[in-house]
Amino acid sequence: MIALSVAAVLAVFILYTSIAGAGTPEIGPSTVGQHVGEDVLLVGTVVGHVGGDAHAGGMRFLLKDDHGAAVARTRVLYSGSVPDLFRTGRQIVVEGTLRNGTFVAKPGSLVTKCPSKYTPAKTNA
């Protein structure tokens, strides 16, 4: 009987995972070119000047890999809520799709990570 329940649970799980597709890829600017047109999570550090308005026409900025010396820069177009911590030099994650050389972000999907200048844990939960 227990075996039956466990099997049922697993079945639900496997059913969902296979239908929903296995998660969303998290990639950096150096490899995003391989996922044109796909819904992905772009992870990177903001560089250069941040222009535009996220609430009118879209905010524009450049993103580079968090780690490593890759030269690749991805142009991001974002509209929606901008978290407080967002600014040049911060590590962020944003969901969206690469289209015609620009990463078009899903509105409101921008998430910032706590800045690394606080090398030990900065916040506690």
Partner: protein
């Protein structure tokens, strides 16, 4: 003074290492004085750890910037309360808090059970072993007492942490996380001593309940903090760090319920030792997640080497627990079998399965990025849709079970008896469902189901109180004589409130965003919000800009809200100041966020109308009340237990 702190921690390390080694030797070779000596070492380690904690607190209070830790987490302009709370704001400090609470709890447990020398003979070395890890980290890997030339001013504290909730949330969580160590140690101790009796369960019952309550309250505090401080409009984002506390709580919930079956019927013994080990391992894993930055999270912390150590410790704990349970399997097998799939024992079993399944699917979601990175080289992650799916698939049946369980009889319930007891609650829930459907709540199926099931559970709990009162004559007498059962019902009522609050504020919320110039208004779910003006003012360590928003409903003014942003010059960062109106009529909130304030005064306003959200917080109070009732010492029961164990004082 940092030297004193370091010395105190070294002493703690030595003492707990002695408790581990000496205690094991004493338990193995049956040496009484050595066992007592190991116990004393454990208690002494609390004193030395306390001294280290006081050193750090004093340094934080005085803003002694020669302490690297103090320089990194405080500044001269930081208010004293927050400066002290920086104790747990950083990695080293929070490890010290873990050790402090652990040695504190261990000392208390040892002192309370000192007469049952045999019971704690093996528990002492297990507690010592766990403490050794944290003491080791504090002494040699991640010390809070590193010193350097004092800078002019400290780095300050993240503005998001300067909030009263951050004074309570981490300590509360730690009291919970660490609290789960005690039942785990007693369970492993009993297995090591080859005991087959329930003494360890009886001794740790209140510990488990207390730890579980702290963990639950800690999470609610964290959720409330996120709601009012981070200000995205929600209170739970399925962030790995949030899940880190939810998973052990779910396992502990299963354990809490499952031990009742062992107590009453002597069944599910293997389940119980496995559940307590799972709860403890998830607790350690949760601490590891929060501290190692290993998973992409909005709370991404240090990329330190600590992660590797934690993983190693976790591996040791898992191997130890699994091996021990396996070796003692013959002792744990029960003679009693499950008689019917429709019995209270069976509902507890379903409860276990659903809770563990939910905890494991959350765990899978949390480690998914790590696994895909290791296997494919490409990181993939799951998010809200994944978690919501499983929350609905497992959570809704769990909600229903909460109403069914208490109505089913032990061993075997006849369908006729079930029919009679279910009739009223079932009728109430069906009527509720139909009414809600007619009112348009069918827009969300999980929401509707949550409401309907909640009605079922609420009715069954109410009926329990009514029937019980009729049987005993008075309500106080009923509760006083059946504290655990009725305390439990009160906690279930709290969970029902929680479920209703969550369903209302997520499935039935309204979100609107608009750019407004002064004088313009927007509408959301029957409310009209008018942007009046913009203003600035100076706080102790920040500059605040806020908008004045007039809120009206049906033409009449309801309240004025002030969403805005604050700029903290020392920390060079800004924070969102959301403004929330608590509507007493709907028990919901009108939540406003000043998303963007442009130089020419244009406001990007985001409004969320969240029905019934205040039930989530109200549930917290009912939860604590119910727990206290369940925990309250019962003189009659204490005497019975004393009788039982007086004959065999081990």
């Amino acid at each position: 003074m940092a030297l004193l702190g370091r010395a105190a921690l070294l002493l703690s390390f030595g003492l707990v290492a002695y408790a581990l080694v000496g205690g094991s030797l004493a338990a193995w070779k049956r040496r009484r004085r050595l066992a007592l000596s190991a116990q004393n070492a454990l208690v002494a380690s609390f004193v030395t750890t306390l001294v280290a904690a006081i050193v750090l607190l004093v340094a934080l209070g005085r803003r002694d910037l020669s302490f690297v830790y103090v320089a990194q987490h405080t500044s001269h302009s930081l208010p004293l309360g927050y400066a002290l709370s920086a104790f747990w704001g950083g990695q080293e400090g929070s490890l010290l808090l873990w050790l402090l609470v652990l040695t504190g709890y261990a000392s208390l447990a040892v002192l309370l059970n000192r007469r049952s020398r045999e019971l704690i003979a093996w528990t002492v070395p297990v507690l010592g072993g766990i403490a050794v890890f944290f003491a080791l980290m504090l002494c040699f890997v991640s010390s809070p007492f590193a010193t350097a030339a004092a800078p002019a001013d400290g780095a300050g504290m993240d503005p998001a942490l300067q909030n009263p909730y951050m004074l309570a949330h981490p300590p509360m969580l730690y009291l919970g996380y660490v609290g789960l160590t005690i039942p785990f140690a007693f369970a492993m101790g009993a297995l090591l001593a080859r005991r087959t009796d329930e003494r360890w369960l009886v001794a740790t019952r209140r510990w488990t309940l207390a730890a579980w309550t702290f963990l639950g309250v800690g999470q609610l505090l964290g959720a409330h903090w996120a709601y009012v401080e981070i200000g995205w409009g929600g209170y739970y984002a399925w962030d790995p760090v949030e899940n880190a506390a939810l998973m052990p709580w779910l396992a502990a919930t299963a354990f809490l319920h499952s031990v009742m079956i062992q107590e009453k019927r002597g069944m599910l013994k293997i389940w119980n030792v496995a559940l307590v080990a799972l709860a403890f391992c998830l607790s350690v894993f949760g601490t590891f997640l929060t501290r190692s930055g290993v998973i992409n999270s909005i709370h991404s912390f240090s990329q330190s080497s600590l992660g590797g150590w934690f993983l190693g410790f976790l591996a040791v704990v898992i191997v130890f627990s699994v091996a021990l349970i396996y070796l003692r399997l013959p002792l744990l097998r029960s003679k009693t079998k499950l008689e019917s799939l429709v019995s209270r024992e069976a509902t507890f079993l379903y409860n276990n399965l659903l809770l563990v399944a939910l905890a494991l699917t959350i765990l899978w979601g949390v480690v998914y990025p790590l696994l895909t990175q290791a296997v494919n080289g490409e990181t993939r992650s799951v998010s809200k849709p994944y978690y919501d799916f499983f929350l609905h698939s497992f959570g809704l049946p769990l909600l229903l079970l909460m109403g069914i369980g208490p109505l089913v009889a032990w061993r075997r319930a006849s369908l006729r008896a079930l029919g009679k007891t279910f009739a009223v609650p079932a009728a109430v829930s069906v009527v509720t469902g139909i009414v809600l459907l007619a009112l348009g709540f069918g827009s969300s199926t999980p929401g509707l189901l949550a409401y309907t099931f909640s009605a079922f559970v609420a009715a069954s709990i109410a009926l329990e109180f009514v029937r019980g009162r009729r049987a005993t004559g008075s309500l106080p007498r009923l509760v006083a004589r059946n504290r655990r059962r009725y305390g439990g019902y009160i906690v279930h009522a709290a969970i029902v409130l929680l479920a209703i609050g969550i369903a209302g504020s997520s499935a039935y919320q309204t979100i609107r965003e608009q750019s407004l110039k002064p004088g313009q208004s927007m509408r959301a779910a029957g409310y009209t919000l008018t942007y009046v003006s913009l203003g600035t003012r100076q706080l102790q360590n920040a500059q605040q800009t806020s908008a004045v928003i007039d809120v009206s409903r049906g033409g009449s003014h309801v309240t004025t809200l002030h969403p805005g942003k604050s700029w903290f010059p020392v920390e060079q960062s800004s924070s969102n100041d959301v403004s929330i109106y608590h509507d007493p009529r709907s028990l919901g909130d009108v939540y406003t966020i000043a998303d963007g304030i442009s130089k020419n005064g244009t406001l990007d306003l985001k409004v969320l109308v969240k029905p019934l959200v205040n039930l989530v917080w109200a549930a917290g109070f009912v939860f604590v009340f119910g727990s206290l009732v369940a925990m309250w010492p019962d003189a009659v029961e204490q005497r019975k237990l004393a009788d039982r164990y007086a004959a065999v004082p081990v």
